[in-house]
Each structure stands twice: as structure tokens, then as C-alpha cells.
Point group: C2
């Protein structure tokens, strides 16, 4: 195996913890927060896949808002402009998981280039990375928006090859979404699935190369191999 | 609006009731049937979208089996060859909803051509249609398998135009899956969503033209318009 020269990270759920959005759902609609955030998230993803296949791309902020409208209607929850605004703002100021900053610094010390490749629109990703203080560690932030299609389309993963000018075999791809790691594996990256729950590997014919429990395991794993 | 010359139906959940599969899940794993059938179905659909985007098409029987494996593992349920075989067989012998035969006969009496357009593989659809005694009513059975991509890709809906030699504006498309009706609407069909639950319309930028509660409403609606 050629040595890796760059590590590309998914954003939501991988570097950034969406817990604060879930907590805000519960604060706004006590007792309904979990149901709302689960349905919101599952519709958000479904809409990215369905719109990609329908060739009706809209950016991730609009898809996320559409999924929120659907989820509120389905659960019989009233939502106004103010609540919608607060929930969307929460998406722009997510905290990173506790191990992220030190894990990224360790990878940088290994002379690896670091990048984000996300479904998020540029307008969502910019404040997210700045707010978390990651601009010094993550050199490149790539949004699918350039290709007007969502993960796991190969055209999305190819963006990382193009922007980093590194061959796909020298790119490691890290995601907590198993299907995203499978998509990246199918494209040709060496892939690391962060299994934060204890879910089975998705049965998509392209299993991730490595399964880790957190980002702190990554540098160790790379040093060994 | 030009008059409709053909009506194209989705199969699973639209003409055919998957209840017997759900009941068998419950019989095989008492107390876990609902959780299993829900996770199985949601993974089945996710895999069709994800594999389509990844360009790793596999036919619906294999996707359905892969989703079943995932769901059993996730829920900690043991599955052997015999149980797997029984569940897959149940998919080939689904009953139709009670109103289907009379509703289709009524549409045929209106000189409409009737077809099925399904994610199902030809080997799944053939016994399904024969077993339900629909071969005399449904003249054309179309599987996405010819295009190696799943709904809601436009190439799938285009298959119906090609096979029926009818313009898209003269085709009515009926599905109980809202996202499927949205995909068909986006392609250019006149669309009928059968809302068997009471779910909101999906927010995909292409809402179905009509919402009905069952197939028996269709002929009435067409006579009025």
C-alpha cells in the first residue's frame, strides 16, 4: 500500500457533534426532541439521495430546512421563523468531538495534509470551521456544491483528488457515516469508519478498510501500518 | 391537460400489500417483528439510492437480502437459510390490497392501458403478478433492472414512455411512496400519491398532482377531470 499523503474528513457527525442541535430540539419541544431530530436527520439524508437521483439538486441548507419542515409537520409540531432560525444557526456553530483538535494536530505533525469533504454548502461550512478554530489545521474545505450532487456519488469523492492533487490511493477518508465510508471505498480511497455507536457495517459491497471508535485511534493506526 | 392513455403503477405498497412479510417477521421473532420489518424496509430503500449513486447496482432481490442481513445483525436476531428463504418467498406471493382488482378492472373498462414500473427484479415481479391473478389486467410489467439504476432516477420513468410508446404527458403514475410520486412528477408524469397513512407530502420540489386514499378513488377522479 502506498503511504497516505492526505486525510479527508466528513464533517457532520465525524468532526462535528450534532448533539447541540438535538438538545435544542428537546428544549423547543420538550419530550419530542429525540423523535424530531431523528426524523429530521433521516429525511435530510433521504432528500440528498433522492434529489441527486432526480437531478434536482438544491444546496444542503435548503435540503436541511425542507427536512425540518417535513419532520415538524409529520410530528404535529408548530415551527415559526424564530425557531427555524435558531435550529439552522445551531448547525453553523456545532462543537467538535472532544478528541478532534488533538487528533488533527497529531496528524498534521505526521506531515499529512488535512481536508474536509462535506455535503454542507460553503455558507454552512465556513462559519462551522472558523467557529471551531480549525482553520489552522484543516487546509482545504470542499463542498459537494460544486458538483450539484451529493455523497455517495463518485463525482463528489473525485473533488478531493482534484483539489488536493493527490492520487486517490494516497488519500485516507474518514467518516462516521458507514455508507459514506463505503462510497469512498468504492471510489478508491483507503477508508476509516468511525463507529461511534455499535452498528453493523453497511452491506453495500464496498466495506471500509478500517473500523475505529474515535479520531484519536487514527494516528496510532497510521503509524502501525 | 391531455387525456391519460396509460396508468403506470408502483408495485410494493401500492398494488401489493407487504403486510404478510411483516406478519412473518413477527412470527419468526415474536416481539421484534415491527422493528425488524421497519429497519429492513428502510435499509432496502437506502441501499437502492446509495448503490444507484455509487454506480454499484445490484438487483432488488440481492439488495433486499442485504438489507435483511443488516437489519438482523443490527437487532441481534439470528437468521438461517430457511428463515431467509421464507421471508424472500413471502415477497414473491404478496396479496394485493382489497380494492385493487376491481379498481384495475374499472380502469381497463375506461380503455386505459395499465402497467407496473417497479424496483423489483424481473424474477421477483413475475411470480408476484401471476400469483395475484393480475396478468389479464396489467399488460406491461417493467423492471428498473434494464437500466441498472433505481427510482427516482429519470431514466427509470423514461422506461415506461419507451415501453408503452405513449408521451409522458399522457401517462398517469400511481405510487404509495410519496418520494416515488415526486420523482415521477419531476420526470413529467401526471402523478397520484396514495397516502395510506396520513403523512405529509415530501418536500422535494415536485409535489404529486393528486393525493388519494386508495386505488378505488382513481377511476372516479379520472372521470371527473
Amino acid at each position: 500500500m502506498p503511504p497516505l499523503r492526505a486525510i479527508v474528513f466528513d464533517a457532520y457527525g465525524t468532526l462535528f457533534d450534532v448533539h447541540s442541535v438535538i438538545a435544542l430540539c428537546e428544549q423547543l419541544w420538550p419530550g419530542k426532541g429525540t423523535a424530531l431530530s431523528q426524523l429530521w436527520r433521516s429525511k435530510q439524508l433521504e432528500y440528498t439521495w433522492q434529489r441527486s437521483l432526480m437531478r434536482r439538486y438544491e444546496d444542503f441548507a435548503r435540503v436541511t430546512e425542507a427536512a425540518l419542515r417535513y419532520a415538524c409537520t409529520a410530528l404535529g409540531l408548530q415551527i415559526d421563523e424564530e425557531r427555524r432560525g435558531r435550529l439552522m444557526d445551531a448547525y453553523r456553530t456545532l462543537a467538535t468531538f472532544p478528541e478532534v483538535a488533538s487528533a488533527l494536530a497529531e496528524l498534521r505533525a505526521m506531515k499529512l495534509r488535512l481536508a474536509i469533504l462535506s455535503n454542507g454548502s460553503p455558507a454552512m461550512l465556513r462559519p462551522l470551521v472558523a467557529n471551531a478554530g480549525l482553520r489552522g489545521l484543516i487546509g482545504t474545505v470542499i463542498s459537494v456544491d460544486q458538483r450539484k450532487i451529493y455523497k455517495p456519488a463518485p463525482a463528489v469523492y473525485r473533488l478531493a483528488v482534484q483539489r488536493l492533487s493527490v492520487t486517490k490511493a494516497a488519500i485516507g477518508f474518514v467518516s462516521s457515516n458507514c455508507w459514506d465510508a463505503c462510497g469512498a471505498k468504492s471510489f478508491g480511497f483507503r477508508t476509516f469508519w468511525i463507529d461511534r455507536g455499535s452498528a453493523p457495517v453497511d452491506e453495500l459491497g464496498a466495506a471500509p478498510d478500517h473500523v475505529i471508535k474515535g479520531l484519536d485511534e487514527l494516528a496510532k493506526l497510521l503509524r502501525r501500518s
